[in-house]
Structure formats: C-alpha cells, structure tokens
C-alpha cells in the first residue's frame, strides 16, 4: 500500500569560501555543489505499521518525508501511496494523510487553537458530525480542554505540540507522518505523545511513519525501523533483530565486600573498578551472563548485581560507525 521505489533527489547548494574577495567574486560566478540527499531508496510499508525512520542529521529523513507527503518532487523514482503519486495527485492525496513537522507550526499564532481547528475543518471539508466526534476524541485523549481556547502564542511547547498532533488528525487520515514530534519536549509530554500515537495506531489502525533522534521514541513505538545514512537505506527490519545482531553486549554492575581482585575473566571487559564496585561488559558471543555471574560469586562476596542490555542508542552509534556515516 505504501511503496517507494528507487527514489533519488539531489539539491544544488551554492558554495562560497570565506573572505571579501570571494564574496565579490560570488556576485558574478557562483560555484554549486550537487548534494545527493537521497539515492535509490526503496521500501514498502503495510497498513497499520508504525515505522521508525532514523538516521543522523542530514541523512535524508526529512527529504523522504517531504517527498512522501507531496511537498517535494524527486529527481527519479516512484512512490505509490494508496494508489496516488504524492507530488502528482497532491490535492487529492493529502486528504488521506496527516503530517506533523516537529520544528514548524501549522496553527495560527495569534488566534485560539480552536479557530485553527475550525479552519482545518473547512479546508478538509470534514462533515460536521465527524468533525465533532474527532475533536471530542482528540481533546479528550490529548487533554486539551483547558488550552483549546488559548491563543497559540501563549502555549508552552508541550501544549502546542499536542495541539499540532490533534490538528493533523482532525480529518481522520489513514497515514500519519511524524517528523520529530518529541523534539524539545519534557519527559511527561513525550510520554503523553507516545501513548497517544500508540492508541490511534491500535484503535483506528492509522499507519505511522516517524522520524526521531530519541531512541526511546523508537523503542516505545516502532515495530520496524528503517535506517538511512548518507542518502541510502542501510537497515530495514525489527528492533529485536537489530538488537540480536549488534546488541551482543551486556553490562553487569556489581557491588561486593572490599577486595583487591581485579576481576579479569574471559570474555569480560572491566569498564570501571573500585575495591567495592565494578562495571563489567560481557560479550555474549564469548561468555554467557550466568557463567560470568557464577564465576564472579566464587571470586568475591557479592552484595548486589544488576544486568542491563546494551542501550539502543549505543547500538545505533555502532551501526553508524559500521556504515561510516
């Protein structure tokens, strides 16, 4: 239902070296470099999926989102969403999608939020009953009762983002693009946003494509991740398989009765050591966690043991390193 095939896009970027002479020269001759934002991106997404689209800054995430939402025209490639080509059938197509750009605002700055909602109702020609039902649902689940009558300029970022998300779902889209929806939000707002996204995905079957730099977003939401770097697709699969492929390290933190034993065990790297506490990295391909703990308890008198999986952030960094991006 969403099929992207061999999508490519380049941007021409004007370059100028520093200095007055260079600036004067640039008045007449400009040097351009061609930046390849996307090259040969292909993937398909099934209805009802939540897909995390990740990659470092400048990887091409936003460019892909812009192309898929009909804002940008690619140089080459095909994109089919619900049978539409986004940039060709723009007006008809965008009725079916909702978009949230975390760094931009779609609400009118100086008027109460509800006025912006009313405008969207007319723009999308949402029938009255459907509009009312949707607004009630959104106001209820996103807890907007107290803020919909406030001008947007007086809202905090977290409140505004909740309103932005509501605004992009008023017309009941089947597909939702979230471009960094949790950027700059505090922990409470982040969790509220995640919970809401999960809910509409479960209850309304809305397909979600999410870009973010916050790996907790991905862990909480995405069944599947697409990793992009330098304009190419590098990984497409579930988070679990990513973990089992790269996340072979476990961290064991132990407290013990004072000892001089430096705890050098096979397959274990000592990250930090004091006479009473140590942090160990276990490479699970060389040693199991249980063996290591058994060995440890035979060497020192353990007081406390904590085992942690490798944080997803680290796995991603490892992945970036592997692909040199």
């Amino acid at each position: 239902m969403i099929a992207v095939e061999r999508l490519s896009k380049s941007f021409k970027v004007a370059k100028r070296r520093t200095g007055l002479w260079q600036a004067a020269k640039a008045l007449f001759v400009r040097e351009h470099t061609l930046v390849r934002a996307l090259s040969d991106i292909s993937f398909t997404i099934r209805p009802g999926e939540i897909v995390g689209y990740i990659g470092p800054n400048g990887a091409g995430k936003s460019t892909t989102i812009k192309i898929m939402s009909g804002i940008l025209v690619p140089d080459e490639g095909r994109c089919d969403v619900f049978g539409f080509t986004p940039w060709k059938d723009r007006v008809e197509y965008v009725r079916n999608i909702g978009v949230v750009f975390g760094q931009r605002t779609q609400l009118w700055w100086d008027v109460p939020v509800i006025d912006s909602f009313e405008l969207l109702k007319d723009i999308y020609r949402i029938p009255k009953t459907e509009y009312k039902a949707n607004v009630d649902m959104l106001v209820d689940t996103l807890q907007l009762e107290s803020i919909v009558h406030t001008p947007v300029r007086q809202l905090s970022l977290g409140q505004r983002m909740r309103c932005e998300i509501a605004a992009s779902l008023l017309h009941g889209p089947r597909l939702l693009f979230l471009d960094e929806p949790t950027i700059g939000l505090d922990a409470v707002s982040k969790i509220a946003v995640r919970k809401f996204v999960k809910t509409i995905n479960k209850e309304k079957g809305v397909t979600v494509i999410l870009t973010t730099h916050d790996m907790n977003d991905i862990e909480a939401l995405a069944d599947r991740i697409l990793l992009i770097g330098g304009g190419s697709l590098l990984y497409d699969g579930t988070l679990q398989s990513l973990r089992s492929r790269f996340g072979t390290r476990r961290t064991i933190t132990i407290d013990y009765r004072e000892t001089a034993d430096r705890l050098d065990l096979p397959g274990v790297e000592v990250a930090s050591w004091t006479p009473e506490r140590a942090v160990l990295h276990v490479d699970t391909e060389r040693a199991t966690v249980s063996e290591t703990i058994a060995l440890l308890s035979s060497r020192v008198e353990l007081k406390d043991v904590a085992v942690e999986a490798q944080p997803i952030e680290e796995i991603i960094v490892q992945l970036y390193k592997e692909h040199r991006i």
Binding site: G58, V73, R104, W109, D110, Y124, R125
Partner: protein
C-alpha cells in the same frame, strides 16, 4: 470555495485584533495627507498654467488614498507569508487539499480588508469636517459613487493579484526586502500613489496607462471626484476585469511552475 471563504474570514478576524497598529496607521495617514495637500496648495497658489486637477479634486484624491491605503498600496504586505516561505513553514500549506494560489489570495484579501475597515472610517470622518481646501468632497452624483465603489473593489482584487507575483518572487530570491523595495517603489509610483497620474509628463502617462498598476488606485480615486467621466469609467471597469483575469491566470501558472522546483527550506 468554502476553504477560501473560511481562510478569508479568519484572516479578517485576526486583522481586526490589531487595534493599536490601526490607530498608529490612522495618525500617520492623517498627518501624511495633510502634508501632501499643503504642499500641493503651495504649488497651486503660484501655478502659472491650468493644473490638470482642481484643488478640490486633489484633496479628495489624497484623502481617499490615505483612507484606503491598505486596499491599494502594493507595499502593504503580509510578513507572515514571507516568513512562511523563507523558513520553510510553507511545508504545512502544501500538505493541504487546497489550491495554494486561492488559499493565499483569500488570506491577502482578508488582511487588506481588515486593515482598511479599521483605518478608513476615522480618516474619512475627520476629512469630511475639515475647512474648505482640505475637505474631502462628496462625489458629483450617485452614479459616480457607485462606479467608484465598483472600481475600488476591482482595484483591490487587482492589487492582490499583482502582489501575488511579489510573494512568488520570494521563492526564487529568498529575500522579501529586495522584492519589496523593487516592487513596492515601482508599483507605488506607477499606481499614482506618489504623484497623481495627471501630473506626470505625457510620455510617462502613456507608459502608466499601458500597465496594470494605475487601475488599482489612480483610476478609482479619479472616478470618485468625477475627474474621469462616467462613460470612460465604464470602459475602465472592463479594462480592470481583463487585467484581473489575465494576471490571476498568469500568477496561478507561475506559482504552479515555481512549486515544482521549490525547495522547502530547513530540516
């Protein structure tokens, strides 16, 4: 249509919120109008030949110009739209199921009307009670007034159509200031807002009459005072319609073309 009506309505209501700006505008316009009439009066007292407009016609022309500045001045702009383009917030406007040209046209129309509603009444009221050479005259007859109203309305639609080119140009230049200065200055002069068209040398008048700008300001104001007779005014209305249609079609085509190449700024 409902989309455009709704955008128009919201922009109108929004514009009416800015009362302090309107008050400041009224004061400035009032001062400016006064000054202009005083200057022209000095010229008239020492004029050697017959001036192309009577001082009474001129006073009406200037007061109308000041009162309806928001409707006719090309430099009267929507900064929000500029920031939308240069920062890339336009991304949102592009994922709406609406034609962008109509969307912006409605927005700009709402902005101009809301500004004019707040400004015109106080200026016209005061101008109507000023002493003789400064006072705004009533139109010579009722039909002149009807023709004026029609011409002003078409002029407003026309000025919005012209200003659309300004916003489109910002997609390419990325600098509202540059577009504004060039368009604003030339447009204002050619519309007869700097000096009324009849005062220009005849070769310049030929140029001005061949361009769309004068139909936005010079034409309606001179219809009001009867400086342009009725039959000529009727033909003028038709010319306005022709300009309006051709400029909106051209603007729509140009915007469509620009959009295909547009780069939405920012990540």
């Amino acid at each position: 249509m409902r989309t455009y009506r709704s955008v128009f309505k919201l922009r109108l209501l929004l514009g009416m919120q800015y009362r302090a700006a309107a008050l400041a505008g009224v004061a400035t316009q009032f001062f400016w109008g006064f000054m202009l009439i005083m200057i022209y009066r000095a010229f008239y007292l020492h004029a050697s030949g017959q001036p192309p407009m009577s001082l009474e016609e001129l006073a009406s022309y200037i007061w109308l110009q000041q009162a309806f500045l928001a409707l006719v001045a090309l430099w009267f702009r929507d900064n929000e739209l500029f920031t939308l383009i240069t920062t890339g917030n336009i991304a949102y406007e592009l994922c709406r199921p609406a034609d962008l040209y109509g969307f912006w046209y409605a927005k700009l129309l709402g902005m101009r009307l809301s500004a004019a509603i707040l400004r015109c009444i106080p200026i016209l009221l005061v101008a109507a009670f000023l002493p003789a050479p400064y006072r705004i005259q009533l139109p010579p007859d009722a039909s002149a007034f009807v023709l004026f109203a029609a011409a002003l309305l078409l002029g407003l639609l026309l000025v919005v159509a012209i200003s659309m080119f300004l916003y489109i140009s910002v997609f390419v230049t990325m600098s509202p200031t540059g577009s504004m200065i060039v368009f604003g200055l030339i447009g204002e002069f050619l519309a007869g807002l700097t000096i009324p068209v009849p005062y220009m040398p005849s070769w310049l008048q030929q140029i001005v009459y061949a361009l769309p700008f004068r139909w936005t300001a010079d034409f309606p104001f001179r219809v009001y005072s009867g400086n342009i007779p009725h039959d000529e005014a009727l033909i003028g209305l038709a010319v306005q319609v022709v300009w309006l249609l051709s400029l909106t079609l051209l603007g729509r085509w140009l915007l469509g073309r620009t959009m295909r190449k547009v780069v939405v700024q920012g990540g």
